[in-house]
């Protein structure tokens, strides 16, 4: 027993003796030799370590001996690990490499305006779509407060940097939407088919975008559905213009959201004086659903929407004595399924299929015009992260479009026109991160269009350089091509058309601080191969060619700030553009009628805690737009007066789950004129008479009550408004 005790004591004694102390010391610096404070320095597998001081120095004692791994870790840097001899590591300098995946690495920003969860710098927050006065829940209207866009009030679609509305393509979860807008006709503005409700992120590129996207000359709008539903809930909305109902169910791995809306503008049209004469008000019934299933390594999403719209009205037309009747019926269906996941080491796969079907039945005066379009896209994209410095992506997609239109004037003329188009494309792209301050993206896209019988290669490249902690420059270049729009190619014979082409050059400067963003972007766009025709209207016997050309150049400025005054957020965007084209039936190079040289938007939002209210104002201004006056010898010589509209909204929280929402557009009742329609033939005095193109009504009023029923008492529909 005695020996045992003795042994134990001596053992314990010796062990403490064994634990001779070694001092480990040194200094932690970054690549530039600047001290790194707060780094964690320790011997792997032990508790021995220290934190670096303000001067980057550290020192600690250890009882370990021999060779051990020294670890130096700090969030912004790659973890440093090195085998050292514990007895001989004194006053050494440890240099940390920047972790380029860290939060503040440079990101290419030329041309791209992002919103949502993943965006490093949000120009627009998800909530903005719905709380921007004048947007009325229309994604497009909210985007029109950003620089680079033109507000074309009689059309409603997105016009980007001197491009026609058709030059912008919309993608949901990376897959194209063939018919993104609601039905429209002569000078009645349309709106986006998508409710902002189901989307968590929006990236809006005004040029120079990735080789992943094709068939868009000017711009792409990328909408991403939410990966995850919040939780079980039911939303009810009662509005002066209709009803809405939504429900979300969430299970362990999957969730389902369904939304339905019925819109009827009859009450609004009765209350507000209208500039047109409605036979039956605008009505629509629509629904959307998203199903998501989470696998261990990926997510499957199914998005489907349908809507059915109709309206019937009489519009004054300068060429007819009596107003002309337009009766429109539209049915639209869209399905999109996608899978996104990871496999192997650093591989990512994105694949999907979309199908869109649109059927229009239009009665215009005595004519019947019926058309239907079937459009599908198949897509597969793979990317592999080769290292922290290099990522390779490649993919392929296939577009199928089938269009048919039947015309019947109910007297003598009957005609049927249509086309089938198949476009196959392949692209590849490399993301190179040279350092935390310098990044590049280089790629190309090759596509083949069977209808036009042509193959094209489009190179794309962009570069970003960070000059200081808060500011950076980006540059982007790209070749873009797009098949001519349906109005032309429905008359296509024997591969007669070629794709229209554009080149983009963009230089971007961005400054960001928490709560503040400033962007300035200068661009030049060179258009070629634009379609021209020789008749007054596009018709079956027009002679077409692809010899048109044009340019657009300008400057976009954006400033957003939430630090100026507590609870106040505002942004200002200004765009200057100079653009001319010789296309369509233009006799000379001229500025098209949808372009205003100066556009200015000011958006403000203010939260008043005592009133439980958020109020907002938006003012949109654009300078006059050109129009062609046939009484003058010079083409497109007229200019409308400037456009201005001040809108207001007010959201009031009755309780957390009940919201009262009120909005009114154009408070000041400015009489805006978008342009002029001239008579086809001069009157007896030899003068062409004209008629102003004006909004269907000067103001829009909206009052709604929104109620959310869920277990979470803080959830409400503020984001849906």
């Amino acid at each position: 027993m005695k020996t045992k005790l003795l042994f134990l004591i001596s053992f314990l004694f010796f062990t403490t003796l064994f634990f001779a102390q070694n001092t480990i010391s040194g200094r932690v610096v970054d690549q530039k030799g600047k001290p790194v404070a707060g780094a964690n320095i320790y011997l792997e597998g032990t508790y021995d370590g220290a934190t670096s001081s303000e001067t980057g120095e550290f020192s600690f004692e250890t009882t370990e001996t021999g060779n051990k791994f020294l670890v130096v870790s700090f969030l912004l840097f790659e973890t440093f690990k090195k085998e050292i001899d514990v007895a001989n590591f004194k006053d050494q300098t440890v240099k940390l490499r920047e972790n380029i995946n860290a939060l503040d690495a440079v990101v290419i920003t030329a041309g791209t305006l992002e919103s949502g969860d993943k965006a490093r710098v949000s120009v627009l927050k998800p909530l903005d779509i719905v709380t921007t006065a004048g947007s009325a829940g229309n994604i497009i209207a909210a985007l029109q407060t950003l620089p680079g866009t033109q507000s074309v009030g009689e059309d409603g679609r997105l016009f980007v940097r001197g491009g026609e509305a058709s030059e912008t393509q919309t993608f949901v979860d990376g897959i194209r939407v063939a018919q993104p807008y609601g039905a429209t006709t002569n000078n009645l503005p349309t709106r986006s088919r998508f409710s902002p409700f189901l989307f968590s992120g929006i990236a809006f590129s005004t040029g120079g975008y990735s080789a992943e996207y094709g068939e868009a000359l000017s711009s792409v709008l990328l909408l991403n559905t939410q990966d995850e539903a919040d939780h079980d809930k039911t939303d009810i909305g009662l509005m002066t213009v209709g009803l809405s109902l939504g429900n979300t169910q969430k299970w362990k791995k999957s969730s389902l959201s369904v939304n339905m809306a019925y819109i009827n503008l009859a009450p609004y049209q009765a209350a507000i004086p209208q500039n047109v004469d409605w036979n039956s008000p605008y009505q629509s019934l629509g629904g959307e659903t998203v199903y998501r299933y989470n696998f261990t390594n990926g997510i499957f999403k199914l998005y489907a929407s349908f809507d059915s719209e109709k309206f019937d009205l009489n519009q004054k037309n300068i060429n007819f004595e009596n107003p002309v009747r337009t009766d429109m019926n539209n049915n639209n269906f869209y399905l999109n399924s996608s899978y996104k996941g990871t496999f192997g080491t650093g591989w990512q796969i994105t694949s999907g299929i979309s199908y869109g079907y649109s059927k229009n039945k239009l009665k215009y005066d005595v004519n019947d015009i019926d058309n239907d379009e079937n459009a599908a896209q198949l897509k597969l994209k793979l990317s592999k992260k080769v290292s922290n410095h290099f990522k390779l992506s490649f993919g392929t997609d296939y577009f199928i479009t089938k269009f048919n239109e039947d015309f019947d004037d109910n007297v003598s003329l009957q005609a049927s026109n249509g086309y089938n188009s198949n476009i196959a494309a392949f692209y590849t792209e490399g993301d190179i991160q040279f350092s935390k301050n310098l990044a590049a993206k280089v790629g190309f896209r090759i596509s083949n269009n069977s209808l036009l019988d042509e193959t094209a290669i489009a190179p794309r490249a962009s570069l970003a350089y960070k000059v200081s902690k808060s500011s950076q420059f980006s540059f982007a270049y790209g070749d873009f091509s797009q098949a001519p729009v349906v109005n032309y190619i429905k008359y296509s014979k024997y591969h007669q058309f070629e794709s229209e082409k554009a080149k983009h050059y963009i230089l971007n400067y961005q400054f960001t601080k928490p709560g503040q963003t400033f962007r300035a972007e200068a661009y030049y766009k060179d258009y070629s191969n634009l379609v021209q025709y020789d008749t007054k209207d596009i018709q079956y016997n027009s002679v077409f060619n692809n010899n048109g050309s044009g340019y657009a150049k300008g400057l976009d400025l954006f400033w957003r700030d939430s630090n100026l005054y507590k609870n106040l957020e505002y942004w200002i965007s200004y765009s200057y553009i100079d653009s001319e084209r010789q296309y369509k039936n233009f006799p000379t190079m001229s500025t098209p009628n949808f372009i205003a040289n100066h556009t200015l938007s000011i958006v403000t939002k203010y939260f008043i805690t005592d009133w439980k209210s958020q109020i907002g104002f938006t003012n949109s201004y654009s300078s006059g737009r050109p129009y062609n006056d046939p009484n003058q010898t010079q083409f497109m010589n007229g200019k409308t007066k400037a456009y201005n509209s001040l809108s207001f909204n007010w959201a009031y929280l009755l309780t957390t789950q009940k919201i009262l929402y009120f909005s009114v557009s154009n408070i000041l009742g400015t009489q805006n004129v978008f342009g002029y329609d001239y008579a086809r033939t001069p009157d007896v005095n030899g003068v062409y008479q004209r008629q102003a193109v004006v909004p269907t009504a000067d103001r829009f009023f909206f009052l709604g009550f929104f109620w959310t029923i869920s277990k979470d008492k803080n959830e409400n529909q503020l984001k849906n408004l």
Binding site: L8, E44, Y47, G49, L75, D230, S562, T655, D712
Partner: protein, 207 residues
């Protein structure tokens, strides 16, 4: 025989010293935290977490220190860094064990910190997640005082402007205080914080 005894003694010794090493390390880290040396304490807990993968506590405290520090930090860039660090540490443990109420309470706290840092941007996005995390915690352990209090406290925080009825929430605060009285932490280092803030909330309820 001697050999066997020696072996056993050695084994016990190493066991004992390992045990004390963990306790010593944890004790030292808590000491640093009490002194207000957040970065040092967090680094110490990180070292323990790296050396000792059996206990969820070191990573739990890395997350807790950085989350609570984020509440008082003004610099938004730093807040982001702290919360990213907290989330990374918590993720390590959440992957290992989904059935620990304390981890879900901490998850709710991280989301709350995001909401507090920028209510305009994060309010809508994270509110539902905060509530969901508390719901998970309560489903695992309905009598966890931190889960019961946290859930009520989060809603009380928003009540100022949402006008929600505070009575049932205050009742939950009272219930949480009773639960704190009977709560027995599993080990000396297990989470036991929250009573002070609950008492504070109770005071506000009675105003």
């Amino acid at each position: 025989m001697t050999k066997i005894i020696t072996a056993i003694t050695l084994f016990i010794c190493s066991l004992l010293s390992a045990q004390t090493q963990f306790e010593q390390g944890m004790g030292k880290a808590f000491g640093l935290w009490k002194e207000g040396k957040n970065a040092e304490a967090s680094a110490m807990f990180e070292r323990i977490a790296a050396a000792d993968k059996n206990s969820y506590l070191p990573n739990y405290y890395v997350a807790l220190i950085n989350t609570t520090a984020a509440f008082t930090e003004k610099d938004k860039t730093k807040i982001d860094l702290m919360l990213t660090k907290a989330q990374d540490a918590l993720d390590v443990e959440l992957i290992k064990d989904q059935n620990n109420a304390e981890l879900h309470v901490l998850q709710a706290l991280i989301y709350t910190a995001y909401v507090v840092a920028d209510p305009m941007t994060n309010g809508m996005k994270y509110s539902a997640k905060v509530m969901e995390a508390y719901a998970k915690a309560k489903a695992i352990d309905p009598n966890n005082p931190r889960a019961v209090f946290g859930e009520a406290d989060y809603q009380l925080g928003g009540a100022k402007w949402t006008g929600v009825d505070t009575k049932p929430l205050c009742a939950q605060v009272d219930k949480a205080i009773e639960l704190f009285a009977t709560f027995k932490p599993e080990t000396p280092f297990s989470p036991k914080w929250g009573l002070d803030r609950a008492l504070e909330a109770q005071k506000n309820c009675k105003k």
